[in-house]
């Protein structure tokens, strides 16, 4: 009985992984529209996060692997990520349940 339950669990897990692969492909071909409009607000939000002041991260997290000084191009990319994060919050509310 245990073996049957285990097999069913494994099958369900694999199905979930397959659905996630499909979702990643769909996301790649049709990413959410990240508004680039309010770049100033995004920059201010990022500066708040980087300031290290308690509470200034506004509930967000940020980490970088092998991080050095952020270049201008990295900063613009980070703003793009922030815009994408905001878009994800509104357009893919169920993504984490996939």
């Amino acid at each position: 009985m245990d073996a049957i339950a285990q097999e069913a669990k494994r099958f369900a897990g694999k199905s979930r992984l397959t659905r996630a692969k499909d979702a990643v492909s769909a996301f790649r071909s049709n990413p959410p529209n990240a508004s680039q409009g309010d770049r100033t607000a995004l920059r201010s939000r990022l500066q708040g996060m980087r300031s290290g002041r308690p509470g200034a991260n506004d509930g967000l997290m940020m980490a970088a692997r092998k991080g050095k000084e952020m270049s201008a191009s990295d900063e613009e990319g980070t703003l793009d990520d922030l815009a994408q994060l905001e878009a994800l919050e509104s357009e893919y509310p169920e993504a984490s349940k996939e």
Binding site: F11, L17, F27, A63, R65, G67
Partner: protein, 255 residues
Amino acid sequence: MTAVLTAAERILQSLGIGTPQEIDLEAIAWTQGAVVNYRPLEGCEARILGSARKAVISVNSRSPERRRRFSLAHELGHWHYHRGRVLFCGNDDIGNFANDAMNPERHADAFASDLILPNYLLAPRLNKIKKPTLAAARDLSDEFCASLTATLIKMTLSNHFPMVIACYNKTKRRWFERAPMIEPWWLPVRALDRQTFAADMLLNGAAEQNFPRKMPADAWFDFKGTDRFEVTEQSFLLPDEEILTILMLPDRAVA
């Protein structure tokens, strides 16, 4: 006895992953609420921005594939352990194994290692390996699509072999890892001894050895009585004029 699964291994098993080839990190990230971008990054290998439920991970598109995989898995480690925190980690925080166990970078690295090289898939393969040679490590790193360094660290810490791995540059030891079974006084020397094959490779441009070579233990360790033992060494060159050596120790080194 069933081994206790780590957080990363539980995620893999919850997705029914039973082979290294099934470890699709982008799909795994999606199941955790994270999406992945590949773009040129100048100041880091990867970064993550996350809210309470969602995250965006950017990975340096200019890095080699296996480094990109480890970086992505590392950021997923931050996502698992450090939501709501802002962490800035410098170059020296990574791969610096002298850092204390509370360092969030170590947590993220351990998570990455377990996600890419999970023990429940690795252990059966290690059981079939007689000696931890470079060839054996390369086969595993290819199968798991992991870097050779990450694979060797995992092999060492998995405690299957009486081994130490040590990384040196031309002047000093950079870091080392030791199998937990090894007596604690077996610490690799602080600078490469010139009689070692590793020094010959790093300093004189000698070719990589095809198999582990015997060497008096006192070329690698300097506690009293080391001269009674012999070890084997086998090395490969890393970028930036560094070398990583696998040392197989005698039975007497085992606690």
